[in-house]
């Protein structure tokens, strides 16, 4: 039993990272009908930005709660700016162009970001300081939970719940939902679509930045090309949950993480990826709009 619960904890941790990244995919898709393939590379980029921010402001040795918060806030701000820039340069000129052009532009933008990271920080694996979070470990009935895991689970739940209420309770959230349903009608209602798209990219990129920093603090080693793997998994999670659907992305991420951990734990590593994509195909065959795609009529 504790083995099962331990696998749950492992799965939920990686799952909430997938969910954070998946939100970036799903929000952009909901509003623009565009798969932002550069998003995964933006996640990798944010891990490197985080490392540099930390080294610049605090040097190598200082660790305190304030230091960690500053790193998260600065990194999220920088990555959000890059995300907005990405939309301006690579997507806005193509908004009326055929969808295929925008997708190709997204793939190209991803390569530009990935290679820029390689040129700026070098091709070597970079390593996060081990003492950003305290090394506290709790052992509850044979299950081991680390401080970093609690942080990941806690902060991502807060962010996801916050986002849900932001979309559903605030004026900007309502505007975002309106743009998702019909851009032209929203424009006629006096909503500034460009501003809404900008907000979407700010939110999506900052959530990606948080995920990137968590990947760095949890796994320690970051490489310039890791964005592809996290991006692909999060993309699968977004599709599973129903792309364009925010609770769907959260659910898809958590399910994918759990599913992966269980397959690895009870069958074998060799099969984990195979089963992931079998599950994806099964969901697409039986519920083409994803798990939450139909029950929630409103997209975004």
């Amino acid at each position: 039993m504790d083995i099962f619960l331990q696998q749950m904890v492992n799965g939920l941790t990686i799952g909430s990272l997938y969910a954070l990244v998946a939100l970036g995919y799903t929000m952009v898709y909901g509003v623009m009908r565009l798969i932002n393939f550069a998003h995964g590379d933006l996640v990798a980029f944010s891990a490197f930005i985080g490392l540099s921010v930390y080294a610049q402001i605090f040097g190598e040795s200082v660790t305190s709660l304030i230091a960690v918060i500053t790193v998260f806030v600065f990194t999220a701000a920088i990555v959000a700016f890059v995300g907005v820039l990405l939309e301006r340069l690579a997507y806005r000129p193509l908004r009326t162009a055929p969808r295929l052009s925008a997708v190709v532009s997204a793939l190209g933008a991803g390569l530009v970001i990935q290679n820029s990271v390689m040129l700026i920080w070098g091709p070597n694996m970079k390593i996060f300081p081990s003492n950003l979070f305290p090394a506290t470990i709790w052992e509850i009935g044979g299950i081991v939970i680390t401080f970093t895991q609690v942080m990941i689970l806690g902060l991502s739940s807060v962010l996801m719940v916050g986002l849900y209420f932001f979309i559903h309770q605030t004026k900007i959230g309502t505007a975002i939902r309106a743009v998702a349903i019909d851009q032209d009608a929203a424009k006629l209602m006096g909503i500034n679509v460009n501003r809404i798209v900008m907000i979407i990219f700010i939110i999506g990129s900052s959530l990606g930045a948080v995920a990137g920093l968590f990947i760095g603090t949890y796994y320690r080693g970051v490489t310039f090309d890791m964005g592809w793997m996290y991006g692909l998994n999060a993309f699968v999670a977004a599709i599973m949950g129903g792309i364009g659907n925010i609770p769907g992305a959260m659910l898809g991420g958590l399910l994918l993480g759990l599913f992966n951990a269980m397959i690895t734990g009870y069958i074998s590593t060799q099969w984990a990826e195979t089963f992931t994509f079998v599950l994806l195909i099964a969901i697409l065959v039986f519920r083409p709009t994803g798990i939450l795609g139909e029950t929630v009529a409103e997209k975004v």
Binding site: Q7, S130, T146, G221
Partner: protein
Amino acid sequence: MKKMFPKLTASLAVCSVLVSTSIAADVIKIGVQAPITGQYANEGQSIDNGVKLIVDQYNAKGGVLGKKIEVVTCDDQGTAQQAAICAKKLVNEGVKAVIGSYTSGATEAAQTTYFRAGVLQTSDGTSDSLIAHKYWTFFRNSFPNSAEADYTAKYFVDGKQYKKIVILSDYSSYSTDLADATSKALKAKNANIIYEGKIKSGTQNFTATLTKIKSMDPDVIYFSGYYTDGGLLRAQQIQLGIKADFVGGDSNDNPDYMKLAGDSAKGTLLINVPTPDILPYDIAKTFLVDYKAKFNAMPASIWSLMNVDGLRAILHTMEQTKSEDTKVIAESLHKLKDFPGITGPVTFREDGERIGGGYMTYEVQADKSYKIVYQ
């Protein structure tokens, strides 16, 4: 139409011969095929640096056979696909010999191309399969996995007397080969292997596999893969509170292992041939001083030095035989005996295998230094 092709190919062949001889006239080209980028970048760059240092030293003395040596580097990113492209590129460049690559997988993918073109190749790849092709062009400058496996089995059974052994590997040619060889050697000594598993290199999250291992309560986890995964495995093992010893195969011996594992690195047991800084040979000491002076860093690991020894053996044999003909050089290399190398005497067998060994086990201390615990 049918008649045209033989003529065309014949004239092309003449062209390429002319081109290659005109190039060969003024310089001797040496290729480096190594992972300059990608996850094994620091090993690849170190090989490239080592080769360039030796070549500079030769050129300062007037080169070899009265000609300057030129280094052509191709980045194989540690992948088989890129390695195959590199092999073609280096052959087209007209190199006489290729140093590399670092991984067995990338080495094996390029082997056949070099063999067909008659280009010498020397690599630190330890997979036993590298020698199995019996290519006359291939020379291993390190020692095979089977030698390390026998040592590991002896250490586990006679030294540590482990009762419950877990073996982990990744999917690479080298790691699978080493894990299989170790498992075979352990079984020959009637050791109790309770689990043999695989992790996927680069996935970073190994907690699911480790949790499964935790339930088996092993004495030791042996990992035959590379440092990029080994460091994370060790860190996550300690996080999950698995008490077993962690023993890493030779490719975990890298400074990045220590950084990745952080404080968890303490207590790790690493099995490898001697590290660069404890090599007893004068020639090694001089090389390390020169290397440090030129690149302001130490070589990434012993593997760069093994490759450098491969290059030195080839250049030495070129001078001895006074020939640029790779066939003549290879014939002489196969008989090379006790050539003073940085990593010890270099002796090649008829099939291109380097004879020797001398493994040691190091225990990583709290300050990340090594202590020899078993020889």
